[in-house]
């Protein structure tokens, strides 16, 4: 069995794969300030779900911002490569991934065999990330998980001109004071975040079909706004938060298989020498 662990800034996710490339189990826990403890928790959780012992895991690949903290990892791979491979596993036709994480967002172009061709990452700025929505939800006194559903009820999107989180927050507060409907303001926020992301998409050039991953992909309002800009429905995996960990699990499997292949080769070389 092969384990992929994605240690992100907000959550730590893990995916367990079987030989025939079948997902056995996945787990998502909060990263918190102690990555080691989050990693331990996610591995325990996935072992319980899959009803296996840790020793049964053949290979581990870690990814994400805290990937170096996974001491059990046989290999470390960037989240850029893992997201590309993860989405390829789920939907091999996808050629562009928009990944919106808690603290950063990135656009990745994916090749036909699941490798990342190129990418664009947002600069040291929370605009276009989950953090942007979190700040806005807080300013409006709404649970972040409700934002998407509320946005879908909007009659129009209230324009938010600023993409900077700090300035946009002031703008939202002004709109609330002006008595604008909250659903319209939220739809406007989704539009603003989508515009920011579309700028990143344009920087590397879009290739369709496009997928949306990361925790923010669960927000239907964002999916709708981005689909509108792209002119076609964007693909969202059933569990968009585990795509990075899934890609890591695929790399874990490759790593193990390559190791076996090398051992096989050296065995046959030894036999030839004998």
């Amino acid at each position: 069995m092969y384990l992929g662990i994605d240690v992100g800034s907000v959550t730590t996710d893990a995916v367990l794969l079987k030989d025939e490339k079948k997902i056995i189990a996945f787990s998502i826990v909060k990263s918190g300030f102690d990555h080691r403890s989050a990693i331990d928790k996610v591995v325990n959780d996935i072992c319980i779900k899959a009803q296996i012992e840790r020793e049964q895991i053949n290979s581990v690949v870690s990814t994400g911002y805290g990937r170096r903290n996974v001491v059990e990892a046989n290999k470390v791979v960037t989240e850029i490569s893992c997201h590309a491979m993860g989405i390829h596993f789920l939907a091999p036709d996808i050629r562009t991934v928009i990944d919106i994480g808690g603290q950063d967002s990135k656009v990745i172009r994916v090749s036909g065999n699941g490798y990342a061709e190129t990418f664009f990452m947002n600069d040291k700025c929370s605009a276009g990330t989950g953090r942007f929505l979190e700040v806005m939800a807080h300013a409006m006194g709404i649970d972040i998980n409700e934002l998407g559903a509320i946005a879908l009820t909007a009659k129009k999107a209230e324009p938010i001109s600023s993409i900077c989180t700090v300035f946009a927050e002031s703008e939202v507060i002004s709109k609330i004071a002006e008595g604008k409907p909250k659903e319209n303001i939220i739809a406007g926020l989704h539009q603003a975040i989508s515009e920011r992301l579309m700028g990143m998409v344009a920087a590397i050039g879009v290739k369709k079909p496009v997928a949306l991953t990361g925790g923010v992909a669960k927000n239907q309002g964002i999916k709708k706004a981005l689909s509108k800009y792209l002119g076609e429905d964007i693909y969202k995996p059933e569990e968009p938060q585990i795509v990075g960990a899934l890609g890591a699990a695929v790399f874990a499997m490759d790593h193990y298989m390559n190791g076996l292949a090398k051992e096989g080769n050296s065995d046959s070389e030894n036999k030839t020498n004998e």
Partner: protein
């Protein structure tokens, strides 16, 4: 003695002690300029990178290339949080940080006020606009040439005429110092050694950091001391040539390098198992000068330089890629720079067409506060994966 002078002095002695005569001589020249304008109160002109050194070498005046002095101040960390400090003195946070540091050097009286500013519109709009504003602020003359944007014969002649006029204008205030013959001889000799250096480094790419440190020698063409520095540099490269490894993944570095962290080059080479084999800054144009068409030659050199047009840069870049067998490109984009970073989307596209992995790192080369090294490493690790895993 100011801390800037004492740090430069220490650097000169350090390089001498470890046998790096080329660096010791190069820094000593900068130290002499600094001493002349501060301790000996000699008049000086401020200028920007592409104003030809040969033209100014003809005149009896000290010349300070502002990007070079700002770079040295950044490398020796003369100011803590320079951009922030400059903003507290009214400098825009969105301006070029090289100019912010240079402005601080004058504001904090590390160097005295200059007697004039000389600028060309090429390469950088921000640079000449800063020179213009600073000249107004300090009530000193501003000498300026608006370089034509196209390089056909007529425009080149017009540009040459403007350079000649600039020389005559400056000659009114500053007497002649060096003969044109001596300047031409020194410039051509330097260009000749530079060509020999290129031959050596093409065969065995050595430590690239020296090329980053010495590329501003372009500003010193026409000086006899430059010939000596290049001779020492060439001999060092030749002696190191045998130590170079052949089996390497060669990387091309575009743009400049964080001056407070130039060791990042060695760290990248170590962590990614590659070698930065080439950069684009150590390029002097290789146009030899002649006395009777001196200004035409200078105009031609500028208009043929790799940054004059996107096409020039791309052509030179892909020549280097072929020559050095480069497997990937790293572009360091300077914060707020409106000169090189805007070309990145086109370079990225071209690299993709040529199937060469490309990564852009963003930061500030003179202010460490604006460089997120953790983020840069994440991008570099992906770059490594692209080079080694691409089927």
């Amino acid at each position: 003695m100011s801390s800037f002078i004492s740090k430069l002095d220490l650097a000169v002695r350090y390089h001498e002690s470890i046998g790096e005569q080329h660096m010791a001589n190069y820094l000593r020249n900068q130290l002499d300029v600094l001493r002349n304008i501060t301790e000996h109160k000699k008049d000086y002109l401020v200028t920007s990178y592409y104003v030809p050194g040969e033209l100014l070498e003809l005149l009896d005046v000290e010349v300070v290339y502002m990007e070079r002095l700002a770079g040295l101040a950044a490398a020796w960390r003369i100011f803590d949080k320079p951009v922030f400090r400059a903003t507290t003195k009214g400098f825009s946070a969105c301006s070029c940080s090289y100019q912010a540091i240079f402005d601080l050097l004058i504001e904090d009286e590390v160097i005295p006020k200059p007697v004039g500013f000389v600028a060309l519109s090429y390469t950088c709009n921000d640079a000449w606009m800063y020179c213009k504003t600073a000249a107004e602020k300090h009530s000193v003359p501003f000498y300026f040439i608006n370089v034509p944007k196209t390089s056909d014969n007529d425009h080149q002649k017009h540009f040459a005429k403007q350079l000649e006029e600039l020389y005559h204008q400056l000659k009114i205030s500053f007497p002649a110092k060096t003969s044109m013959e001596d300047v031409v001889t020194a410039s051509n000799e330097a260009q000749e050694i530079k060509s020999q250096i290129d031959t050596v480094r093409l065969k065995t790419p050595g430590n690239i950091i020296d090329f980053f440190k010495l590329f501003p020698l372009y500003n010193d063409l026409g000086k006899k001391s430059t010939v000596e520095i290049l001779k020492h540099f060439k001999s060092k490269l030749e002696s190191n040539a045998s130590k170079s490894s052949e089996d390497i993944t060669g990387i091309l570095w575009l743009g400049v390098l964080p001056l407070y962290r130039n060791s990042i080059i060695l760290d990248i080479e170590k962590k990614l198992g590659c070698k930065i084999v080439c950069e684009e800054m150590f390029d002097f144009g290789n146009i030899k000068l002649t006395r009777n068409i001196f200004f035409e030659n200078l105009a031609q050199r500028i208009m043929c330089s790799r940054f004059f047009s996107f096409e020039n840069r791309i052509e030179a870049m892909f020549k280097s890629i072929r020559d050095f067998g480069v497997k990937g490109i790293i572009h360091f984009s300077q914060r707020n720079c409106m000169f090189l970073p805007p070309m990145v989307p086109l370079i990225r596209k071209k690299a993709e067409e040529e199937k060469i992995p490309f990564v852009e790192i963003n930061g500030d080369v003179v202010d460490p506060d604006y460089f997120d090294e953790e983020r840069a490493w994440n991008q570099l690790e992906f770059f490594y994966e692209q080079i080694h895993w691409r089927p």
